[in-house]
Amino acid sequence: MPNFDPSQIPLVSIVFWVMTVFTLGGALGVVTSRNLFHAALYLILSFFGVTGYYVLLSAGFLAMVQLMVYAGAIAILILFAIMFSRRPMAHESQANQQWWLSLLLALALFVVLVVVVGAVNWPVSDAAPAADTVTQLGVALLGSYLIPFEVVAVLLSVAMIGAIFLAREKTEAEE
């Protein structure tokens, strides 16, 4: 190849396509895997791919949310739910009698998305992407939005106590 210059490689495009392979490949694995446990693992790959999109969009905090909450916590919860409800390594068909209903719904959703994406005139801003969004978010959260920030902790507290109240078996003394 004449005049090959490594700095000319469009790194952003390469990362974008690799992440697209992760996202769509993972999603495909979720729906085609015969093993429900493997499907959940493919879901983590798909979530990870979406993290890359957020990084490319300069949304550092959202990338972190995607990685920690979706690829971390939600995926773990799904894996737990599978292990609670069935033998994890059982190979069974993922289709049941309602497969045609979900096919119909998935097709309808697909049509709606295609129509919306085609119909909306997506505006493109000339402004440069905001630098260091995490710092700005930190200034906002610990500055003007300090009270909502602390209320988040209260909300998480309520969620924790609520979950334990619902899930815990009653002790003999309470019955």
């Binding site: 905090f61 916590a73 609670f84 409800s85 602390e150 998480l156 899930a167 815990r168």
Partner: protein, 118 residues
């Protein structure tokens, strides 16, 4: 800026390479002379019993719930950690209040016996 993440990209590539390397290389280089004792499950010298692939007690759900809540809490530490040096004591006090609000409910559910294994 996405270019700030290039070190993470390099880190991911190196980590993936090392993981693949450590799995593939022994597979081709290592000698394999299996016998029943070698093929058996090993867990710190204890003899294995039963099937590991069975249903997990639903009680473990509490651990999963608490994990998710603390996961979200750590997420809110992120913008604070970026500003750590600029905020000085003010930031430390605010995040301490934030953490305390969760830790006290953690202590509450602990005292309630949520983590007692039956």
């Amino acid at each position: 800026m996405p270019s700030d993440y290039v070190p993470i990209l390099i880190y991911l590539l190196v980590a993936t390479f090392i993981a693949a390397f450590a799995l593939v290389l022994p597979h081709y280089l290592g000698p394999r002379r299996p016998n029943p004792a070698k093929s058996d499950t090993i867990e710190s010298g204890k003899l294995s019993y039963g099937d590991a692939r069975r249903r997990v007690p639903v009680q473990y759900y509490i651990v999963a719930m608490v994990f998710i809540l603390f996961d979200i809490e750590v997420l809110f530490f992120y913008p604070w950690a970026v500003l750590f040096w600029d905020l000085k004591w003010y930031g430390l006090v605010q995040i301490a209040i934030f953490a305390f609000l969760l830790v006290e409910s953690y202590i509450y559910i602990w005292k309630k016996g949520a983590f007692k294994w039956k």
